[in-house]
Structure formats: structure tokens, C-alpha cells
Symmetry: C2
Subunit: 203 residues, 2 copies
DNA sequence: CGTCGCTTTGACCAGTTGGTCAAATCATTC
DNA sequence: GAATGATTTGACCAACTGGTCAAAGCGACG
């Protein structure tokens, strides 16, 4: 087991390689579908060597999820109560869409976990996630009360942003199968921008 | 192997029980995460008995997917060129949302398959699905040309409907973790209705 | 350059999993 | 109710998988 002292250069390099490889494999096959051998090979390590850095398959997965939830919620955290409501929400939507383009593996890792009932992060959903969403929907409700954006169901608004943006990462194969050559991310921003402007522009 | 003659009553009953059990298990754990034993137990059969009806795990999965794609696309097929554009599209959205409520297992089976790269139905996506979507986007484009609904990117419009509606089935745990007691399907229809009315109402 | 602790590995193990098979049981038909 | 074919099952197998371990390799430091 790696010592708890300051990690050596080799430690840092190998742990990073493992997490990157594991992200590849877990996001493509789900937890159960991924094998330690696959991950080890993708990280250019032998299986025992990999297990020297992470004592079990589950530990790797946990490390990924832990690291993920924070970055995943960062865009919502950044929603600023003092900014212009419509522009704040649009900025959130665009940040989220960019994450789907730039970090599709992370999105799919998350999707795999949730679709299968979130067995490993259910607690975090009901605590951290719910708390954050409750806070932000309060802000949004405030904006609606002040008549600065149209009134819609705040929670469903958030859900719609999640689903619309993550769809381009999670269902990438389907999107590309339908679109053919056209790059989804070339035209998606404008569509989504229009959608939320029309939905939220004050009456 | 079951004979190709007309299936007996036992055949019909057991094959149905297997497919139902398999839908439970596959949708909850993905293909790789599901075990034949699990399915057999859920169907109240011994494993060899189950394999008497379906020669392999993959055959069960294929049977499910095959049956699924048709029913899954039925709501889009029903989109009627001769109807009122906005109402037709709204009807489609609501049909799709109801499928998420009534057939969440089917939705998750599909989601599992697509998120993991659609290894088993990629061909069908590029042929059947694409053909259908192309046909229907032509219809939609026609409506836009005639000024009967607002002009937006037709493909992204379809994607948005898929993602918004299926989200309630695929990410059910997350939605419920955030919403708490409130039933998602009590408030979702109105939200989505509003969204598409605002997006599509002619200028 | 020798030592000591970090890193790497080949060989191995026990549990699981998809699938087989011969034999037993059951249902139908004559 | 005997014969025939459909259905069911316990026992079994080979491949795979997560994980272990003792021993070998390697690098930094005195």
C-alpha cells in the first residue's frame, strides 16, 4: 500500500495514469462491466502493480466519483444571485454544455452510476446535491418573484438543463448516428440558447 | 431448443416471464452487470431451464432490444403531417413523457445500451432510427417553412424531446433525491408543455 | 557502491459466471 | 394408460475475475 507520506513522483504519475485509464474503462462499460485487467492494460501497468496503488476495483471507482461530484456541480455553484438572472442562467447552461463536450467520459461515468440506481452515491445525491439545488432554486424563485424571469417550476428547470446538456455526452453515439457528419456541438449552443431565452424571458 | 412450431402455452408463459425478469435485471445492472442466475431466479426458473428457452444471455438481451426499438419509436412515428403542427409536437412530447412514467425499465435498458456506446444496436441507430428521424424532421421543416411554428434546428428539437422526457425515467433516482416527496410526473407535464409552447409558438 | 525502502511482477487462488449434458419428469395424444 | 415429445433439473466444466503473496528489481541517499 502506498505510504501516507508525501507522494513520490512515481506515485503521482501512476495514480494519475490509473485514474485516467479507469475513467476510460468505467465510463465505457460501467462498474460491473469494467475489469481490473482492462484498466491496468490501459494504464500500462500490471494488475498487481495497479492494485498496489488502489487496493481494490471499488477504491478506484470511488476515487473517480468523489473527484467527479465536485467538478460536476461547480457550474451550478457558480450561479450568482447578484448577476442578471437570464444571463446567469444562460451562462450556466453554456458551461454545462461545454462540460459535455470537454468531459464526456465524466458525464458518462455519472450517467452509468445514476441509471443503475446510484448504488454508490445515493447518499451524496440526497445530501450535497439536494442542498445545493435547494439553495439555487431559492435564488431562482426569488428572481421569478421579482418578475425578472418568467415563472416556471424551478426544479424542473434545473432538470431540463441537466438533461438537455448531458444528453450530448451520454447519448453521443445516438446523436451522431442521427446527425451524420454535422458536429452536434456546432449547432447545439444556439438551439439551447434560443430555448432558454424563450422559456425564461420575462413576460 | 424450443421448436419452431406454434408455441405451447408453457412456452408462451415462460418466454414472457423470462423477458420480463430480464428487463428488470438488465435495466437495473446493464448487460455485463446482469447474471443469468439473477434472471432465472427472477423468472422462477432454474438456469438450465431458462437456457432451454433462450440459448444464451445475449439472445435474451437481443430479444428485448429488438422488441424495444419498435415501441420506443412508435410515438415519433405517430407524428402526423396533416395535424396541427404545435399540437402534434406537444402530443408527441406528452406521449414520450408518459412512456417514461409507464415504462421506465425499457427507457433504462435503452439508456444503458446507448451510454455504453450502443455496441449491440449501433446498426439500427444509423439505419432505422436515422431514417425515421430524417423523415420526421422533413415534416417539421415543412411546418417551419410555412411559418406555422417557430424555426429552430429540427434535429436538436428532437434530441431535446428525447432527453427531457427520458430523463425522468433514466435519472429517476436523482430526480427523486432532489424533489423529495413531490411526484415528478405530477408537475413535469405542465413544465414541458410550457417549454415547448414558448419555444415553438409561431412568431 | 551498498543499503534500504519503494515499486514491480509471475504465479497462484477462490469465487463467480455462462453454458452443457444426460437423465428425470411432465403433458398430450392416441 | 402407454407412448412420445416437451420440459425441467442436478451435476458439472472451462473461462474469467478480483485479489494475494513472496520474491525480484530499482532508485535515492549516505
Amino acid at each position: 500500500m502506498p505510504p501516507s507520506r508525501r507522494p513520490s513522483r512515481i506515485q503521482t504519475r501512476n495514480r494519475a495514469a490509473i485514474l485516467d485509464a479507469a475513467l476510460d474503462v468505467f465510463s465505457a462499460h460501467g462498474f460491473r462491466g469494467a475489469t481490473v485487467d482492462q484498466i491496468a492494460k490501459a494504464a500500462n501497468l500490471s494488475k498487481p502493480n495497479l492494485l498496489y496503488y488502489f487496493p481494490s476495483k471499488e477504491d478506484i471507482h470511488n476515487a473517480l466519483l468523489e473527484q467527479l461530484l465536485d467538478t460536476w456541480l461547480a457550474p451550478l455553484r457558480a450561479l450568482d444571485e447578484t448577476g442578471d438572472p437570464l444571463e446567469e442562467l444562460l451562462a450556466y447552461v453554456h458551461r454545462k454544455l461545454q462540460m459535455s463536450r470537454d468531459f464526456p467520459r465524466e458525464s458518462r461515468l455519472f450517467a452509468n452510476e445514476i441509471v443503475q440506481g446510484a448504488p454508490r452515491i445515493h447518499a451524496a445525491l440526497s445530501s450535497d446535491l439536494k442542498t445545493l439545488v435547494d439553495t439555487k432554486t431559492d435564488v431562482i424563485r426569488g428572481w421569478m418573484d421579482a418578475g425578472r424571469i418568467a415563472r416556471v417550476h424551478p426544479y424542473h428547470l434545473i432538470f431540463s438543463i441537466w438533461s438537455l446538456t448531458q444528453h450530448y455526452a451520454d447519448f453521443d453515439v445516438q446523436v451522431r448516428a442521427v446527425l451524420g457528419q454535422e458536429d452536434p456541438f456546432a449547432t447545439a449552443p444556439e438551439f439551447i440558447d434560443t430555448l432558454y431565452r424563450k422559456l425564461l424571458s420575462p413576460p
